[in-house]
Symmetry: C2
Subunit: 259 residues, 2 copies
């Protein structure tokens, strides 16, 4: 069987330990090409670069086993450039991460890691975003490699339906304390912002965005519940953002009557 | 009846003609506070600023009818700062736009305009994003003001269910040729990227992202269909990205069996 072509990207930048761990797992499973940001691009959401130029630099040696490029743009730019300018074809799989920190629940919408996976999904490529609930640069990714391998093998084997990508979050636990893998829905949660207001040396006000995560969802079928209870959470994510249940109600509004 | 407090933002920047037109309509309907980016922030998606500082400048005169601030951050940052640092309470409505250009179908996911509306929705604020299918800086926003007024009045009157915001796109047509307002779903569409590869004066390759829009959806209930046929499209958008229909199928995978 031909080895699958696997595109690896992330949002923490090409030198982050998380992506190095992901590359290590993927290189056992397929032919790996890495195209990742040249600097951290966390919380970039689905941003793309349209008002400035993009650079792409090959950083691996000519005879290296894995081809690696860094890119000056966002995670979504990386996927677009990889498919169009490097691979010149759809890879068989795109994996993004391993993110240093959670992308569970509402974080999916802010996450550069997940936006790269979603972009791959839009382009018809099976895709998975992986995140470890540990913001430490030196987080222990060894503990979770077996779960990443297992999920990736299943995706290669079963494929994913068109328009669906996986958001995988892993608890910060030793491997033998992780209870298993749970299929979940996105928990209803939000960040309560707190701005840290400061003054520049010149006396001008400025702000740092900080916040407190609030899970408003008591369901036991959510990613937050799974992670709190020691499971790996897998949420199937799609990018049809239509609130289909609302269409009927909106059709009762008087939008087309003259006032 | 007390006038509603309306937060106005956008992604083209505070001086764009689109937001000026939106402010004009909203000032007839409520008390308006503007918090918008100090520079264009198109295609920023749901990006937030966590690795650098944010500035907020009051740009309206003390006795002006409308209070206006510009912000150094993204559209989502503007909403967060407005709610937390300026208004110190939830506004009754948040409107974003009028965007210079379409945010229909898959564009919802790249759009700074819509991400600002979605952020408001996450924070429990009824929200609408407005976009005109005209990329011209000097587009004629007069033609669409009556539709924006109508939709906004209906939202103020009916409210929106929690977790739903509206994505409104308006065709580039004279007012009397616009056929009406249609409730739609997001069309299945994508951008086929094309990179314009160039060389710097120093001989280094760089890229501009360009692309061609491809509507893959033949449905007559989509926003693309409505806009092509001369209607204003209204898509209810939510931010639960779970592909609920996929959960059952994923539960048949062998994720928890030993290899």
């Amino acid at each position: 069987m031909k080895k699958p072509l696997i595109l690896v990207t992330n949002d923490d930048g090409i030198s982050a330990p998380g992506i190095r761990a992901l590359i290590a797992v993927m290189s056992e499973l397929g032919e790996v090409v890495v195209v990742a940001p040249d600097k951290p691009q966390s919380a970039m959401g689905h941003a793309i670069t349209i008002n400035s130029t993009l650079y792409l630099n090959k950083v691996s040696a000519e005879n290296a086993a894995i081809t690696e490029y860094n890119c000056s743009g966002t995670p979504v730019d990386c996927v677009k450039l990889a498919v169009n300018e490097i691979l010149h074809r759809k890879p068989d799989l795109c994996v993004s991460g391993i993110n240093h920190g959670s992308n569970s629940s509402i974080n999916v919408i802010y996450s550069g890691t997940m936006s790269a996976a979603v972009e791959a999904g839009i382009e018809g490529i099976p895709a998975i975003g992986f995140s470890l609930l540990d913001y430490d640069w030196n987080a222990d990714f060894e503990q979770i490699k077996s779960f990443i391998r297992k999920i990736t093998i299943e995706v290669i084997k079963n494929g994913l339906p068109e328009g669906v990508v996986l958001n995988v979050n892993l608890p910060k636990l030793p491997e033998n304390e992780i209870k298993g893998i749970k299929i979940c829905r996105q928990a209803k949660a939000l960040w309560m912002e707190k701005f840290d207001k400061r003054k520049t040396p010149q006396g001008k006000d400025y702000y740092w965005l900080t916040g407190e995560f609030v899970n408003q969802d008591k369901g036991e079928d959510t990613d937050e519940w799974a992670l709190e209870h020691g499971y790996v959470s897998v949420v199937p994510v799609h990018f049809d953002m239509t609130a289909h249940h609302m269409i009927q109600q909106l059709n009762t509004w008087n939008l087309n009557e003259k006032n």
